[in-house]
């Protein structure tokens, strides 16, 4: 009995000690300093900085190469890379702004730039850019989008990449059907119809009905009507009668020329469905290029910028711009800025975008050979900077934009696809919310 009691005491002691040791061993952490309220410091321009990649995982390797190049050129600066899953980047930033632990440099896209800037976490970069070797080397159009997305005239991130809406189409199916490339909306609708044979599970188009459906719908709508501004004074143009008619025509493709499963498809399912099925066209962006390449082979598909009007005018909504933000809480802003400058330089920006399959913002990088050889990217770059292209700037700066364009209206868009709501009702609701959000934003701006 005594032996048992001794054993039990020893066991209890071992468990307690083991737990303490395990926690001690795993507790070599940091204090997470650097909240949104911290002012930070310029620092010596040497030492360690932390970089959060807002699209961690797929981009990890290329960022590690860029960091290695940077550390070679700046041996007195060490960059700690942190990859964050794309879907959770904003919540990670929000938590760190409130609780501490912000990085020195972070990937901040236009989708949530305004929200982070509004919390006072980002350093304005206009002054630094003016004195930098990057001055004059970044696309003015993209800089304009970045400033607009930040909520005004201030630059809160250095843009590095821009994506573009792309109409992917199956060249093999088009050739078989004797169709021309879907360069105009007229050709697009004709092809969608001709390539559909629902009985054989063949469809002309796949429409995005699940998560992320609003921006592509707006893109198709403005693209068809040629309306070039999102605002007419303080009122949005989304429910302009021309836009209503264009959306009605677009959603009429659902089930007639698209699979019925589309109503729930986010981009993952939509891309997988296109890559593995017999569907003529897919409207996505440059990001899915590698997926198509693996699934279809380079000779069986092409990617064009969104279709034009019959007169050749291309109207498209502004696309997400990715960039690097400098956080106010950084205690080593000088070193952090050196890293941003380096990453946005021609050579590194080119390297990054070649890997990411996006359009470089550095104008020298945009001239590199790989762009000339990657047709979808080259065409996207031409479209973005083309004289015939008009860009409708989406109001990324509205704090409610993400809520309005996602949770508030995606279910309604599904109702439109299913015929349970009219396009006019949907757009009127959307317009009402946007007008209120814009009025509130203006009021807050004073």
């Amino acid at each position: 009995m005594k032996i048992n009691i001794r054993r039990s005491r020893r066991a209890a002691l071992a468990v307690a000690l083991g737990s303490v040791l395990a926690l001690t061993a795993t507790a070599c952490g940091d204090d997470g300093s650097g909240s949104g309220k911290s002012k930070g410091a310029e620092g010596s321009g040497k030492g360690e900085i932390t970089f959060w990649d807002n699209n961690g995982g797929v981009r990890t390797d290329i960022w590690k190469q860029i960091i290695a190049d940077f550390e070679k050129q700046h041996p007195d600066i060490k960059v700690n890379y942190v990859g964050i899953p794309a879907a959770n980047a904003q919540s990670k930033y929000d938590t760190a702004i409130q609780g501490g632990g912000l990085p020195d440099v972070g990937g901040v896209g236009t989708a949530f730039l305004a929200e982070i800037a509004a919390q006072g976490a980002l350093e304005p970069l206009d002054g630094r850019l003016e004195k930098s070797s990057l001055n004059g080397k970044l696309s003015e159009n993209v800089l304009g989008t970045s400033k607009a997305a930040g909520g005004g005239d201030t630059l809160y991130h250095v843009p590095t990449s821009v994506n573009n809406g792309t109409l992917w189409y199956r060249t093999d199916l088009f050739k078989k059907a004797g169709l021309d490339e879907p360069a105009t909306w007229t050709a697009f609708y004709k092809a969608a119809d001709k390539l559909t044979n629902a009985g054989k599970n063949e469809f002309g188009f796949t429409i995005r009905g699940g998560e992320g459906s609003i921006a592509p719908a707006l893109d198709a709508m403005y693209g068809q009507t040629g309306i070039t501004s999102f605002w007419d004074g303080d009122k949005t143009t989304v429910n302009d009668p021309k836009n209503v008619a264009a959306l009605e025509k677009y959603v009429a493709l659902y089930k007639k020329n698209t699979p019925s499963a589309d109503v729930n498809n986010d981009f993952t399912k939509m891309v997988a469905q296109w890559d593995s099925g017999t569907i003529g066209m897919l409207s996505h962006n440059l990001g899915s290029y590698q997926d198509h390449l693996k699934a279809l082979g380079k000779d069986n598909f092409r990617g064009l910028p969104n279709p034009t009007l019959d007169d050749g005018t291309r109207v498209q909504v502004s696309n997400p711009v990715d960039g690097l933000g400098l956080f106010k809480a950084s205690k080593n802003k000088a070193a952090a800025w050196k890293f941003i400058e380096f990453a946005a330089s021609a050579a590194e920006n080119s390297k990054f975008n070649e890997s990411a399959g996006q359009v470089p913002v550095n104008i020298d990088a945009a001239k590199d050979d790989w762009i000339q050889q990657a047709e979808p990217t080259r065409l996207a770059a031409q479209a973005l900077n083309g004289e015939n292209t008009k860009i409708v700037q989406l109001p990324y700066y509205l704090p409610d934009w993400n809520t309005i364009s996602k949770a508030d209206n995606e279910p309604n868009y599904q109702k439109v696809l299913l015929g349970k709501m009219t396009a006019k009702q949907f757009l009127d609701t959307l317009a009402d919310q946007l007008n209120k959000a814009q009025a509130e934003w203006k009021q807050n701006q004073g």
Binding site: M1, T26, G32, S33, G99, G100, L286, Y289
Partner: protein, 294 residues
């Protein structure tokens, strides 16, 4: 000296009376009426798993409906290139440490709830229950600040502690239920024989709690293994991330490598499946025992 420990009293469940002079109604049901719905249900359940296996085992770009030719490239990619080997180790550490801490603390707390009467005991139980309604996301910022004060941000310890804290209320309630099912007279007999309270607990009660402990421990392990939010928020260093965060990094903003994602999903699911395969007997016994008020 205690020489024998009486087995825990088992509830006797009487079989339903058979109808006189005939087979049970159950036996008279045609087999197809049982197996057909079960087969349909099984098919419905297993098709998604087959789909994951298909994507994980067939080459990238293949549209074949069978995983042939078979490749392990996706597994190799996630395990080496995408650091799942490291994430796996971290997840095992977090899962096991949470299991141990949750079980030990819940045992102590559950014993107190089962065996002692104290003021506000009902209120305490109610508070434990209510704490289950608070989502982890709501407490992220306060927890972040607490761990920052303790210099524990970016350490696995923060995730282990947070997971343990969130597992404790339910575990404590379950274990107190198991302990109530053990008659106090067994412990009292051990005290008469000279055992201290702790020794009596260790020698008499603990062995009888095995199904309950396995249920609570496995529940804590699986929850910690699958939990994403705390690891994402409290850990920054790539080498400290866990499997759920690793899985999410396989999804780019604009493209998803479905083969790698499926392979990563299998890597994440296999330990949980194995754990459940080994413990399912105790798990069912444990939860049903804890569900009965003593």
């Amino acid at each position: 000296m205690i020489t024998e420990i009486a087995p825990a009293p088992q509830r006797v469940v009487s079989e339903p009376a058979r109808p006189r002079g005939g087979r049970r109604a159950w036996d008279e049901v045609p087999r197809w009426q049982i197996y057909l719905p079960l087969s349909v249900y099984l098919l419905f359940t297993l098709i998604p798993f087959y789909w994951i296996l298909l994507f994980a085992l067939r080459p990238a770009g293949s549209t074949s409906l069978v995983p042939w030719p078979m490749t392990l490239d996706h597994f190799e990619k996630v395990w080496t290139e995408r650091s799942f080997g490291l994430y796996f180790q971290n997840s095992v550490l977090v899962g096991l440490a949470t299991l141990v801490l949750t079980t030990v603390v819940a045992l102590a707390g559950g014993y107190a709830l089962a065996r002692f009467d104290f003021r506000l005991k009902r209120g305490f139980m109610l508070a434990l229950l209510c704490s289950q309604f608070v989502p982890g996301a709501l407490l992220l910022v306060p927890l972040f600040q607490i761990f920052a004060e303790l210099s524990m941000i970016n350490s696995l310890g923060s995730v282990i502690l947070a997971e343990t804290v969130f597992q404790l209320p339910l575990s404590m309630i379950l274990i107190s239920g198991f302990i109530r099912n053990v008659p106090p007279s067994l412990e009292e007999a051990a005290w008469v024989d000279g055992c201290s309270r702790f020794a009596a607990f260790r020698i008499v009660v603990l062995p009888l709690l095995r199904p309950g402990l396995i249920a609570v421990g496995s529940f804590a392990f699986v929850h910690a293994w699958n939990h994403f939010l705390f690891a994402l928020m409290f850990l920054s260093d790539q080498s400290k991330q866990t499997i759920p965060v690793g899985l999410n990094t396989l999804m780019n903003a604009d493209s998803v490598d479905l083969g790698a994602l499926a392979a990563g999903g299998i890597v994440a699911a296999v330990p949980v499946v194995i754990v459940f395969a080994f413990i399912q007997k105790w798990l069912i016994t444990g939860f049903s025992a804890g569900a009965v008020k003593g």
